[in-house]
Structures are given as C-alpha cells and as structure tokens.
Symmetry: C2
Subunit: 351 residues, 2 copies
C-alpha cells in the first residue's frame, strides 16, 4: 500500500474550518482506494505570529520539504499586515518550493447557477495557468522622500526568460490534454518592458506547439471576454498578477469563490506541491461553521491527483458533484442552512 | 454665443468611423443649444507613422494645447507596435496635458441586456475613476542579458504622493455628487511597496470625507464582486492598470465595449481634456461602416459636459437612450444590420 506523508497548514479563519473537512474526505478516499495518509499538522498562522512574532519557524521551509504534499488553509487576519502574513508564509513557500505553476481550474458545478445569463455548464469550464514565482509580486522596491510632499514609491516587476518560458510551456502541454487552445494575457500596450518580453516568449513557445491554437489578448479585453464569451476560453496563461485577477473572475462566473480550488505546483517533483482554496481566510465568518468547504475539498482532490491517485481524485469530484446536485446539504452561500461539517461529511459519505 | 475650439484626432481603424458620427451629433447639439463649435482635424495615426515615421509631429502637444477640448478616435494598427502607436500619441497626450483622471462611467443603456443574469438597469450603474498619469504604465525598465538564457526584464511602477492623493480626492468629490460611496482597488497583499502606499493615502483622504462611505478591496476580489454584486459598487477608484481592467469589465457587464465612453480629464482646466471611447481601433471591422458609434457619441457628450454645456450633454444622452430603446436602428453588435452612419444620424435626429 502506498503511503503518503502530507503536511496540513490550516492557517487562519475559515482556512481552519474547511481544512478539517478536506482531510476527512481525503482520509475516507484513502481507505476506499487503497493508499494511506500520514498527516502532520502545523499551526503556522497569524495567531502564531501574534504569539511568537513569526508566521512560521525559521526552519519552516526545511521542515515541510520532506512531505509528499501540503494542504494549506488560508492565511490572513485583521491586524496582521498582509506583507507579514502572506510574505511570511504563503509566498515564501511558493517560491522556496519552486511551485512556479498556480493551476486554477474552474467549472460550473451541478446544483449551482452562474451569474452569467443563459450559459450552460459546458461553456463554463476553463483553467487559469498562473505564473507563481516572479512577475509583479516582487519584494524589490521602496519609498523615497518618506513623509514629504514629493514622496514616491517604486515597485519593480521582474520577468525572467526561464520563468516565463516554463509557465507558458506548461500551459501548452496542458492544452494538449484538453481543447488544444491557449490564450495568453498580455498588456504590452501599457507595460512596455515586461509584456512585450512575455509576448515574445509566448510566440517562441507557440512555435514549438504547432498543433495547439494560440492567441493573445490584452488583459482588459480578456477580462471582458471572460464574462461575454467564456466559451471561447479554455487554457488561459497569465502572469502572477493577471492570473490572480482572472482566476477570481473565473471563479466568480462559475460557482463562486467557495468552489474554486488551486494548486501551487512544482512540476519537477523536486519539492512538494501545495494545494489551497482560491478564497481567503474570511475572518468575518470564521469559526462559525458556515464556510463552504467545497473549494478546499476540490483542492484536496488536486493534491491526490498530483500524487498519482487519479481514480481517487475523480471519485472525490464525483462525490462533490453528487452532493451539490442533490442539493440536500447546502451551506449558506449555496442558499442553505447547513454547516461546514455537514457538507464535508456528506461528501465523505457520497464517496 | 459661446464658441469652442475643438480638436478631432480620429486616429486609426473604427476610430475614424465613429468620430465622424460623434461630430455630427455634437454639431447638431451646438445648433440646438446655442453654442458654436470650430473643429480642427488632425490625421495623427498609425497611417501617418507609416508615411512619416511618427504618430504626431514633434510639436504635436503644443499644437493641441490651445484647444478647449479634444475628441480622440482610437489608436493602433497591426504592424505598428503598441509602444510606437500608443506611446507615440495617446499616452504622451494624457501626460503632457496632466489628464490625470480617466473617468469611465457605465450604465446599462435602454434596449440592451446585461450578460449578468437578472440584473436591473439601476443595479448596473457605476463609474471607474482611473489614475491616468503614472502607476504601472511607466517607461522605466529594460532588459538585461538580452538573448541569453539568464535574460530578464524589469518594469518599474511609480506612484507619487501627489498623483495618488489627487486621484483619490477626485473620486471622493465625485462620490458626493452620487451615492457617497467609494471603493478603492488595492493589492497590498501581493504588491507590497506600491499598494500599501496607495492604501495609506486612501485612508488619509477618506478621513477628509467623513460623509462618504469608503472601503477597499483587493483587485481580484473586486473583479469578482463586479460580476457577483455590481449593485454594491458605485464609485471605484483604481490605479492606471487596475482601472484599465476594471473599466473594461464594467463595460462588459453593461452594454459592452461599443457603449462605454471615457474622459481623460485635466481637472484644473490648465490644459485641454480629451474624450474617447473605451474600445480600441478594431482593425478587423474598420472601414466597413459597421462599428457601433454610441461609445464615441457618449464620449462627445462628456466633452461638452466638461465644457459646461450640461443641458446639451444630457440631451445627447437622452437621444442615445431613445434611439436604443426604440431599437429600430441597430448596428451588428446590437443584433441589427444598420450602419455606423445610420445610427449616428438617428441620434442626431432624435436630439
Ligand atoms: C490602448 C491602451 C494603452 C489603453 C490603456 O490601457 O490605457 C486602453 O486600453 C485604454 O483603456 O484606454
Ligand atoms: C493572498 C494573496 C497574496 C494571494 C495572491 O494574490 O497570490 C491570493 O489572492 C491568491 O490568489 O492566492
């Protein structure tokens, strides 16, 4: 029996609530599909920061590096500035483990309706391949003339040939397993250094994949297309910032943020990959047991899929679909009154 | 009788087609509402670039500076790189004339339907106040190790205290004339130098307007809200890039890009302001007489409103509404078969 060592980092807010349910579903899947999971839980969070002054211990990266996969809840809490909470945990992990792909698939789940009028489920199935290690999210920059009227800040974006090439290539390879269409988000008309470079590499990689249809759109027009003609999109490849925006939008036009999973993937397998819901820690509803655990359960399915347990992953997705389709168990965001725990249990049982 | 001197720069592609119609409507409004317009037309465009090697003459800025207002078509044509066409015309004009406000109002026009399900027109009325002079659109940056495997580019964003303060203050002042609600687009969790600075100034300015309700959202969540709960947004203030993306999205959920006007405004009046449709030059349909002129006609209405001719501006909007509501004259994007010219004439007659 294959045994996997998994790390769980529930984090903050509803991250804790939904991670319990995702583990419950995974544990059940392990029993049913003949593998075993050994979990180690880490309390790295804003709460830890308040107590000990750091989001994770100094050797945090090292301690996670031996695991086969990481399930992350969500990070962030009012009062702890984002540059502490996120740049003290989420972002360093993404980078240390060279999880340069942020994979964000969305589809309209059964029993849910899109905010878009008249769209069928098959028109609302796409995946954002987001660059996850560089680009606009850079720590380089700073403030000049602080406190003076002529104060200004600089914020540097950094795009490397290595970084851009590998994410675009990943998108093209993924497209071969789907619709064979890739759309690249650019903004070369406004960002005249970074985006022409991105476009140039996109054209180079596209030439390696003559069987895949490629196009590029400015990110503003692409956001518009996502709501006007989502059926014309399948694999969308985008920089760190553009992928962030486009994937929230993609989640919003499908089941909403409560439904969208994501994987921070290190394709070489040299380091562990990390899976999380797209949604944040939602402090306003944390601990009330009303958060929708579906996104995190689907993130857990991506985790076992990444480990090679594709049958189990598919079974989890089918179980989620069935529970949502029946509609008997629904959290408040789905129009019901059920708890996080009940929805998690329903999915585990539907397995 | 007040006389205004206006510059028309039709530019490229459908910019030319729609600007003719907008002028027709303005000329009619002038007759009806007792002012006079003296037009000067400039052929600055990609076509000029192909002929003479530059988008506009060296003294282009100077030549426009004495006008009371500028009506711009659209810029861009295949084969002319964007950094030439846009950074050779649109962007230098925005900056030279300190048009630091890019005002982008949207509403669901009569006779059109939203791509969002079940939304009434009154839920779909908002305005994006986009910073238009600095931020992510900066010429600072460049390429290192060109052509080598370790090649990379840097792209600098620049946010000044002066620039951020004035755009946010403009948004709060505008909110006082509307719903008294301002939402600021941030991304301080990812862009840890520029956006915390933006947020800090937003908080300072908000304190000057205790009567206006203020909130801030990360741009990813804000894009999601725009499609999930647009009724909860009214005045949205955003950086150059975020405002670009959010305003295309706002146009997409209302009448589409064929309907969205914008103003590049110099609030002090020291320099001329410039009005244009949000849409681009759409080379694929240029010159066929099928482009929708509504966005440009509404941009022309913003122009005369800016000049103080509020009655005429309102009359133009009412005429557009009436023509769209009747639905007898519709360009292909509106589901009809009428020409650009017919729709323009219909609006002029409805005045
Ligand atoms: C053409 C381009 C540079 C421009 C911009 O992004 O500013 C356009 O998209 C706009 O929105 O006016
Ligand atoms: C929390 C934040 C830094 C993060 C991001 O933008 O990467 C989040 O929005 C996400 O999409 O994973």
């Amino acid at each position: 029996m294959t045994a996997y060592r998994l790390a769980s980092v529930p984090g903050d807010g509803i991250g804790v609530d939904v991670t319990v349910e995702a583990r419950k579903v995974l544990d059940r899947a392990a029993v049913l599909f003949g593998f075993s999971l050994e979990w180690t839980e880490f309390d790295w969070s804003c709460e830890r920061y308040a107590r000990l002054g750091s989001m994770m211990p100094d050797d945090g990266v090292e301690r996670l590096s031996a695991f086969d996969g990481i399930l992350l809840g969500a990070v962030g809490f009012p009062g702890v500035p984002d540059h502490v909470s996120l740049w003290g945990l989420l972002i360093p992990l993404r980078r240390a483990f060279q999880q340069y792909v942020n994979l964000r698939p969305v589809r309209l789940l059964p029993g849910t309706t899109s905010v878009l009028a008249g769209r069928k489920a098959e028109e609302l199935e796409l995946v954002i391949v987001r660059e996850n290690s560089e680009g606009e999210y850079s720590a380089i920059g700073g403030r000049h003339n602080a406190g003076r009227p002529d104060e200004f800040v600089l914020q540097e974006s950094v795009f490397t040939r290595v970084g851009v090439t590998r994410i675009i290539r990943y998108a093209f390879e993924l497209a071969r397993t789907r619709s064979s269409r890739v759309c690249s988000a650019t903004k070369s008309n406004g960002l005249i250094h970074s985006m022409p470079f991105w476009d140039e590499i996109f054209a180079e990689v596209a030439a390696e994949f003559p069987d895949v249809h490629s196009e590029q759109m400015h990110v503003d027009a692409l956001a518009a297309r996502m709501v006007q003609a989502p059926d014309r999109l399948d694999v969308v490849v985008a920089s760190n910032l553009f992928g962030d925006i486009l994937s929230d939008l993609a989640a919003a036009i499908t089941g909403g943020l409560g439904m969208a999973p994501s994987g921070n993937i290190n394709p070489s397998g040299e380091f562990p990959s990390m899976f999380e819901a797209v949604h944040g820690s939602a402090p306003d509803i944390a601990g009330q047991g009303i958060a929708n655990p579906v996104a995190q359960i689907l993130a857990a399915a991506m985790l076992v899929e990444h480990l090679g347990e594709t049958v189990a992953a598919q079974a989890i997705r089918t179980a989620v679909d069935r529970v949502l389709d029946e509609g008997r168990v629904r959290t408040p965001d789905l129009g019901g009154t059920d708890t996080t725990e009940r929805l998690g249990t329903a999915v585990a049982e539907a397995l």
